[in-house]
């Protein structure tokens, strides 16, 4: 019953009604207002990791992640102020400086959500010191490859593996900028006994961190796969 209870709020000056429990991000998207995001993906549990979907809510000095904040009745949300644009630019630059993001020689060049977002936001330089990590590439799997130097820790792969495929091969180890995506108990991917080779991690990876060897990114990438499978499962 609760699903049908509608609430009304204002996003960027537009009055909109959405079912109770809807996140600000979804409420905005369903009404044609696009808020940038890298970690969020419909069909997966919201994570709030990339900090790109930050929005302002009138009456509160702090910023809210639109992907994890439920829309409340009477809320007045701003999604695109100068302050937010600036913060988003900084967030993208921080992601780019944390590891190795060399678009020109990346397998995901032209098919990368981080690159596209940087272009969209007008990020034409990185103001922070770049950290050129030299994590060994794991290509021990028959066709799946992980290059952790390109990982932005959005955890889409971890969530899709857990929630959609249901095997939870992927998880995280360590903390902060040293965090790493691991397979099983930190084994080489080729030695993982739980991985089913379903490729969904590669399909949803927003950058070139997980990919399929020998396959063009245009063929691999399909972030809508999570939403698609979830919708099929919930079909009555």
């Amino acid at each position: 019953m609760a699903e049908n209870f509608m609430i009304t709020l204002k996003i960027d000056g537009v009055q909109i009604s959405v079912p109770e429990g809807t996140t600000i991000l979804k409420a905005a998207k369903d009404n044609g207002i696009l808020i940038p995001t890298l970690c969020d993906l419909e069909g997966l549990t919201p994570y709030g990791g990339c900090r790109l979907c930050l929005v302002e809510v009138t009456g509160s000095p702090k910023l809210f992640t639109a992907c994890t904040t439920p829309a409340n009745p009477g809320m007045d949300v701003t999604t695109n102020s100068e302050r937010l644009k600036n913060y988003r630019k900084i967030a993208v630059q921080m992601l780019m400086s944390e590891r190795v993001h060399m678009c020109a020689v990346c397998v995901a060049n032209d098919h990368c959500e981080l690159q596209a977002l940087a272009n969209q936001l007008g990020v034409n330089h990185v103001a922070f010191e770049r950290h050129f990590t030299r994590e060994p590439i794991d290509s021990s799997h028959d066709f799946l490859v992980i290059d952790r130097n390109r990982c932005i820790l959005c955890t889409r792969c971890v969530r899709v593996c857990d929630k959609i495929e249901g095997v939870h091969t992927l998880d995280l180890k360590k903390r902060s900028k040293n965090t790493e995506v691991i397979m099983d108990l930190d084994e080489a991917w080729g030695d993982s006994c739980s991985c089913t080779g379903c490729r969904k991690c590669a399909k949803v990876c927003p950058v070139g961190a997980i990919y399929i060897e020998g396959e063009a990114m245009s063929q691999t990438k399909n972030p809508d796969v999570a939403e698609f499978i979830t919708a099929r499962r919930n079909r009555k």
Binding site: N109, D110, P136, I137, S140, D147, G214
Partner: protein
């Protein structure tokens, strides 16, 4: 290195202009002000062989091609061939034809760039003319039709690359170990076929014009790196001109085939690499003879020297005429690199025509799929400037553990030094620094068309500083243009 007993003074040309990359030339003088030796110094340091370690082998076409913005396609192909040999598969026939076709585009655009943009100002305005107008802008002003033809010819080459592989520079997404990612569409093929006759006409006219001018450069032909050396280049199974695959042939000054390398993995049995302290560029040499006597040349001149024929009608006619310039068909003046380059351009356009008319060119099966099967792979292709070798070793996961790239320009390194020494001895009189004589020293390098990095300095805007030092390092004379 300057020996104070025999050489008192040094002239430095830094940077050398209108070449691809950064270099300087040092001219070392004897006490009596005669030229003792000239050294070609490459001042760039890139480090590709080291920083590619740990990267997956299939990224190599994309990474290594970044070493050059002029001939990325050649790097992509050499890298892809090395990757083919790592996965141990043969690409489908159509993929090979498409790769060849793209390479023809590369050769056409690069040869047009060298001839029209970089070298023709020297030939048309003369070596002693004012450097302020002796560049591509001067060319546009005085010979607008020729300049436009140059731009058009280069565009045709670039368009071949773009139509096949998606973009003009660094089209590495298209290539993959075991083939290519997508086939050629009918409308793109039709476009290239429509454009081809114009390009062919430009190539023929340019060659005719060059041959007419040749008689006025007798002095240069005689003194521009006119020395015997070995020559190296790929030839096909019949000994014909080849740029993509085939056997590596080494020929001596008299036209005898002294070595033929049929297995790319064994190239190191034929070629050694020496190192000198004054430059970042290595000195490859023919191993059987040793360093530095085993100096060999690569590039258009060497390719025409080692080949027995071209294989296309118009180019074959020109080829026969060209061969008459040398004893036993071996042309040794570096000045004739220009001539050879124009014949090759003609050959490439004719080959493009042949490939575009091939009934198999539109076939959609263009990739074989495979995984790492060998831990070592070598790819050899003929870049516009000569033989290009990529040699990789990988671990079981396909990560590069060792990388050796022998770039076309490197092969000629010993020859550069010989050639500039010869030109300096003939033209540099050290009492005063004259524009024309120093430009001739530069121009001989330009004839080789070296590609020292990814930069193009097509316009003579960079300062050319020439310095004259005495034995104590005191500056005696300086000219900046």
């Amino acid at each position: 290195m300057v020996n104070n007993d025999t050489a008192e003074k040094k002239i430095v040309i830094n940077p050398v202009t209108r070449i691809e990359g950064h270099a300087q030339i040092d001219i070392l003088l004897n006490q009596d002000n005669t030229v003792r030796e000239a050294q070609f110094k490459v001042t760039d340091f890139r480090g590709f062989e080291k920083f590619t370690e740990g990267r997956p082998y299939y990224e190599m076409p994309a990474i290594t091609s970044r070493s050059c913005g002029i001939c990325p396609v050649s790097h992509i192909l050499a890298a892809a061939k090395a990757c083919d040999s790592i996965v141990g598969v043969n690409p489908p026939k159509t993929a090979v034809k498409l790769r060849r076709l793209m390479h023809m585009g590369q050769l056409i655009q690069s040869h047009a760039l060298n001839f029209f943009h970089l070298s023709s100002p020297d030939l048309l305005f003369g070596f002693d003319s004012d450097p302020a107008s002796r560049n591509v802008f001067g060319l546009i002003e005085k010979y607008p039709d020729l300049a436009v033809q140059g731009v058009k010819l280069r565009r045709f080459g670039q368009e071949i690359i773009e139509k096949i592989a998606g973009k003009r520079i660094h089209p590495s997404e298209w290539i993959q170990p075991g083939g290519v990612r997508w086939s050629l569409s009918r409308d793109r093929l039709d476009y290239l076929q429509d454009e081809l006759p114009k390009a062919l006409e430009i190539a023929e006219n340019t060659l005719a014009m060059f041959k007419q001018m040749l008689s006025s450069f007798r002095d240069e032909v005689e003194n521009f790196g006119n020395f015997p050396s070995y020559y190296m280049g790929l030839v096909d199974s019949d000994g014909g001109l080849e740029h993509y695959d085939g056997k590596l042939r080494i020929m001596d000054k008299d036209g005898n085939v002294v070595a033929e390398c049929t297995d790319p993995l064994k190239y190191q049995e034929y070629i050694g690499e020496a190192v000198e302290p004054y430059t970042f560029m290595k000195f490859p040499y023919f191993k059987a003879v040793g360093y530095p006597e085993g100096a060999y040349r690569v590039g258009p001149l060497a390719r025409l020297n080692v080949a027995s024929h071209c294989g296309t009608p118009l180019a074959d006619e020109e080829f026969k005429e060209f061969k008459r310039l040398g004893k036993n068909g071996v042309v040794q003046s570096t000045f004739h690199y220009h001539y050879a380059r124009l014949i090759e351009t003609l050959f490439c356009i004719e080959s493009t025509k042949k490939l575009l008319e091939d009934p198999e060119i539109l076939t959609e099966h263009v990739a074989s799929r495979a995984m790492v099967n060998n831990y070592e792979g070598v790819g050899i292709a003929e870049a516009p400037r000569g033989t290009l070798i990529h040699h990789y070793k990988v671990d079981i996961q396909g990560r590069i553990t060792w990388n050796n790239m022998v770039i076309a320009t490197e092969h000629n390194n010993i020859a550069y030094n010989k050639a500039i020494t010869q030109v300096a001895k003939k033209y540099v009189k050290t009492q005063q620094l004259q524009e024309g004589m120093l430009n001739r020293v530069e121009a001989v390098i330009r004839a080789f068309d070296p590609c020292l990095s990814c930069a193009t300095h097509a316009v003579g805007q960079m300062a050319l500083a020439i310095k004259l030092f005495d034995a104590n390092g005191t500056l005696l004379d300086k000219q900046i243009r």
